[in-house]
Symmetry: C2
Subunit: 377 residues, 2 copies
Amino acid sequence: MGPRPDLRRVLEPLGPVVVFAASNFPFAFSVAGGDTASALAAGCPVVVKAHSGHPRLSAATAEVVHHALRSAGAPEGLFDVVFGTEAGRAAIVDPRVKAGAFTGSIEAGRALFDLATGRPEPIPFFGELGSVNPVFVTEAAAERRGPEIVSEFVGSFTLGAGQFCTKPGILLVPASAKLVDRLPGTVPGNALTLLNDRIRTSYASAVRELRDTAGVRVVVSGDHAATDPSPTVLCTTSAELLGDPEALIREVFGPAALVVEYTQESELLDVARLIDGQLTASIQGEDDDAIAAELIRLLAAKAGRVLWNQWPTGVSVTYAQQHGGPYPATTAPGTTSVGTEAISRFLRPVAYQGVPQHLLPPALRDGNPLGIPQRAS
Amino acid sequence: MGPRPDLRRVLEPLGPVVVFAASNFPFAFSVAGGDTASALAAGCPVVVKAHSGHPRLSAATAEVVHHALRSAGAPEGLFDVVFGTEAGRAAIVDPRVKAGAFTGSIEAGRALFDLATGRPEPIPFFGELGSVNPVFVTEAAAERRGPEIVSEFVGSFTLGAGQFCTKPGILLVPASAKLVDRLPGTVPGNALTLLNDRIRTSYASAVRELRDTAGVRVVVSGDHAATDPSPTVLCTTSAELLGDPEALIREVFGPAALVVEYTQESELLDVARLIDGQLTASIQGEDDDAIAAELIRLLAAKAGRVLWNQWPTGVSVTYAQQHGGPYPATTAPGTTSVGTEAISRFLRPVAYQGVPQHLLPPALRDGNPLGIPQRAS
């Protein structure tokens, strides 16, 4: 190579981004949510495809964003909102668009991913799709803290009427602890408000399908007669789960959960090996559990976040947050959609070689006029 | 969110990687090249699909790698080599494989990208495909340093017989400077060795096609009668180029280049706006060129590396290197395949929440037993 050239690298915006708004966080992950914020922060123009579940809120939020951007002196056309499936489809295949971000179902997310990667110029598509967020309860934990675990589990899977991406949909417990018997007395019987009619319909049919699957019995039968359902808890065994994972390990968006009873603690490892990519995987264990180290190792290979004696429904917006995971949790396993690192999805590095000071981006000039962190070697 | 949980994030290996070896760097970017090195460094097992251009060298290199890994105490099965198109195709769709890396043609790279993204579980595919690496010569530079620029250009596009990914395939010059007239006396007439028969055949047909395109004239006619060709230089105008970019802006792998004469310096901006994604884009300019700032800005949006008064064929392996770029330069514009940052393609973040010290990966434990850089907040 000879002597090294003067080479300076900086992150620059990827280009216009289409954000497909989520249904379940009309404020935090919709028009002005995390994807929009991180794309704008990266310097990318944003087109939001509004979610059909809250069109008027979307329009109102867009007005607020427009006003804020104008007040801050942002260039015209930096941000806009489009409505309808067709508009979203047109946006993701538009040659001017350079990335997509999405939060929603596996079906819709995969369809958009296929459009984004099938373009003449394929573009990165950061989809956060589906996750059942399994919780693994060890024998010792069930024995020492069974009632507490059941109560916290119910609180977590019914939080926000079970409409969190990180809702714990599966709880694996030792059959011997008989924790299932505690559920009817713990699960609240009142109706929980779902966000819109489409979610209500999908939820009712997903619960019905899972309930009617061979090997599943009803522990708490949610009331579906009313507009909004009360929680449902179903139960099966780890043998059934391992025998037909496709039918039994499925995200049900809403206040339902599947309790899986195991007979040997080692079946927790079998399930950990079997599951698809997850946003989160949690363990309720005791510090001296012999199975813990191996279980954590297996779950870290499957999930973006591994929790110990905590519940996944809180997603702290911090440096260390990882809201992502192998497919189908996301379509981009190296990325996160929550936390400070979310911005890096919308940046691309550019190296400048031998460029004179006055022609370099300010971030790369000698003397560091922007006062930003730099690494020199 | 309430009080923040104890959340610690670390990068972990993505999983088994298939590396499709390049033809043009049988050592530096083949069996034991940059992709293999960065995937292994990330902790990922590697299956190399050997390039058909150097099968015996590939097998011999694999032996060296096997021996080195065994000597270092690496686990069995961490590395292997497969041969043949079918084996490569089978590897990229194998459910155990979690990422692909590739250096080669747009056609082959796109086919593999489509396989990788079309899987039931799509996986990241880091393809480095095609780039014409245009060089923009300003009027002032042509006037002050014309002969020097021509001579350096010839040295760069014929280096390694023009088989570099970063070969400058297009040189834009002011027609008024008559630099084209200098080329016949500067381009060497001797045969340059191409790496294999397939490259020879493709090269001959690509040169023929470009030469026969409307608006193209021959400046230096390479000798194709011999097994190995001598360099070819073709010429056209920026008006022709802007009129039919698809026909005229094409990578020719081997010692050929297209000189493009412009009449107005502002046509450099038109070409910069028009070109597809590039690994590199270079400017030969003078510090006080009025066009420089805008030209650099436009080129930074198209290329992974922007050079000023330097030639792109040297690719320094450093922290700041960016060997990547928007499609079709690569299939993953946020990544580089050369330089220290190449490792990050094969890593995924995992966050550990509330996990006891003895169950955390050593990198995340209090007291930092591995002594690695950490950020705490």
